[in-house]
């Protein structure tokens, strides 16, 4: 019997690849937007502005303290009540972008705080404006601390994108869920889903590990 199902599964491979494309689209868009917003938030978070750092800190805590599934439901079901009606796909991208921005904000803030304060003082003493201090002194050194966990965070976010299948975005996970109704071989169907995620995530995990090793070597050489 399972040979028949395997043949069926091979026939529905295009459907899974379509799902893979949606997974790519959702996580790609969110990661790019989330990285840009996250860096901005992270820089503000460690700045000396008066209220913004505290507000960002509180928001990050709320997002880190609630399940992503609940956040997706809130965006998808509650925003319409406030008059913002979103299709499933934009709702998914919005929720995942917000999540990405919050986690990346913490990583960036941690990286900036890891730069010894003497560097900033020296930059101030040599008359650099705060933008140039950030651009030429602080961020290049902070990147060494930021990069490895950032790539690791990308892996977590790509995996989190599977949650948006709950509001009907037909990504790989939902493709599997729809297929398993027709082909009742859960191990086979979700084995395939797992392989598709593995192909994306495993190389990224290796890159993150390599970066970590290289960055620590650089740091100790200094």
């Amino acid at each position: 019997m399972w040979e028949f199902y395997l043949k069926e599964l091979v026939h529905s491979l295009p459907f899974f690849l379509q799902g893979l494309w949606i997974t790519f689209a959702v996580s790609g868009l969110s990661l790019v937007a989330g990285t840009v917003i996250g860096f901005a938030l992270g820089i503000i978070r460690v700045s000396r502005l008066r209220f913004l750092p505290a507000i960002i800190g509180g928001w990050v805590d709320v997002i880190r303290g609630t399940p992503f599934l609940v956040q997706v439901f809130i965006v998808f079901f509650i925003l319409p009540e406030a008059g913002i009606r979103l299709e499933a796909f934009p709702a998914a991208v919005l929720a995942l972008t917000n999540l990405a921005a919050c986690f990346i904000c913490e990583i960036v803030a941690g990286g900036i705080l890891a730069v010894p304060p003497g560097q900033k003082e020296a930059a101030t003493a040599s008359g650099l404006t705060s933008f140039h201090q950030l651009r030429h002194v602080i961020l290049p050194q902070a990147m060494r601390v930021i990069l490895p966990p950032l790539v690791g965070q990308y892996v977590l976010l790509i995996k989190d994108s599977s949650v948006v299948s709950a509001i009907g975005v037909t990504d790989v996970t939902r493709a599997g869920w729809l297929t398993v109704q027709r082909i009742p071989e859960g191990l086979m169907v979700f084995g395939l889903v797992g392989i598709l995620y593995f192909v994306i995530c495993y190389p990224l995990i290796r890159i993150s590990n390599n970066l970590e090793r290289r960055m620590t070597v650089v740091a100790t050489r200094l």
């Binding site: 439901f73 809130i74 398993v180 071989e185 191990l187 979700f190």
Partner: protein, 235 residues
């Protein structure tokens, strides 16, 4: 207008407030939320204990001298870390019955959470053990301590102190991950929100209440972690 006008204003204000956020419904559903709150806590609690056991075992295998055990543990950890939890939950939920296992959703959920979290726990414990500098272990060898004594008196006391904060972090992740169990119709916090939404169509009340209850667990665990880190520094 007079008094009547004042009453109308108050009534309108109350009506608008109820339209935005209906506390009465939440009060009515409070028993359900409490039941589901405890369900979330015991499901995650069981999974945390399971993850600690699985994680310790996987870590011991990974650090062992046997190539076979090292590879087996590495395979387990990497395949868990490279696939989403939701796919793993569905894998077990739809897969175990086709293997002939008939187990309840709750057990499937706890197994999925345990296996998933076990892989991350193994990595945390490994990092803790490797953080003890090798010179200390060599010093232990030089003073003639056996392997078990070195573990007991040198490695573990330092490793455990350093692993508690990341383990609490993993516990936070696990509690949040348990929300995914609602998708295989286990009655926990997120499921309570879904039920309230489908019965009364009040998603704002439903999911914001759910979110607040999760935040309570989050802040307790986060506070615990910060308290421990402070203790660690003062010691």
């Amino acid at each position: 207008m007079g008094e009547g006008g004042g009453d109308t204003v108050a009534a309108t204000a109350r009506d608008t407030m109820l339209k935005v956020f209906n506390f009465r419904v939440i009060l009515e559903y409070l028993p359900l939320y409490m039941k589901c709150f405890w369900a979330t806590i015991w499901l995650s609690g069981l999974s945390i204990v399971g993850a600690l056991l699985v994680g310790t075992l996987a870590c011991a295998m990974r650090l062992s001298r046997s190539r076979l055990l090292t590879n087996a543990a590495g395979c387990y950890i990497e395949s868990i870390r490279s696939t989403p939890l939701l796919a793993q939950i569905y894998f077990l939920y739809f897969g175990l019955p086709s293997l002939g296992f008939r187990i309840s959703e709750e057990v499937t959920g706890v197994i999925a959470l345990t296996l998933n979290s076990g892989a991350y726990t193994a990595e945390i414990i490994r990092a803790g053990i490797l953080s003890v500098s090798y010179g200390q272990i060599e010093a232990g060898m030089a003073t003639g301590l056996s392997y078990l004594m070195r573990m007991r008196y040198i490695v573990l006391p330092q490793a455990i102190g350093a692993t508690i904060p990341p383990l609490l972090g993993q516990a936070i992740v696990l509690v949040k991950d348990s929300a995914l169990l609602s998708l295989i119709s286990i009655a926990e916090l997120t499921r309570a929100g879904q039920m309230l939404t489908s019965e009364r169509f009040m998603p704002a009340e439903a999911f914001l209440t759910t979110a607040v209850l999760y935040l309570i667990i989050y802040y307790v665990l986060k506070g615990l972690s910060e308290w421990w880190q402070k203790r660690l520094i003062f010691r």
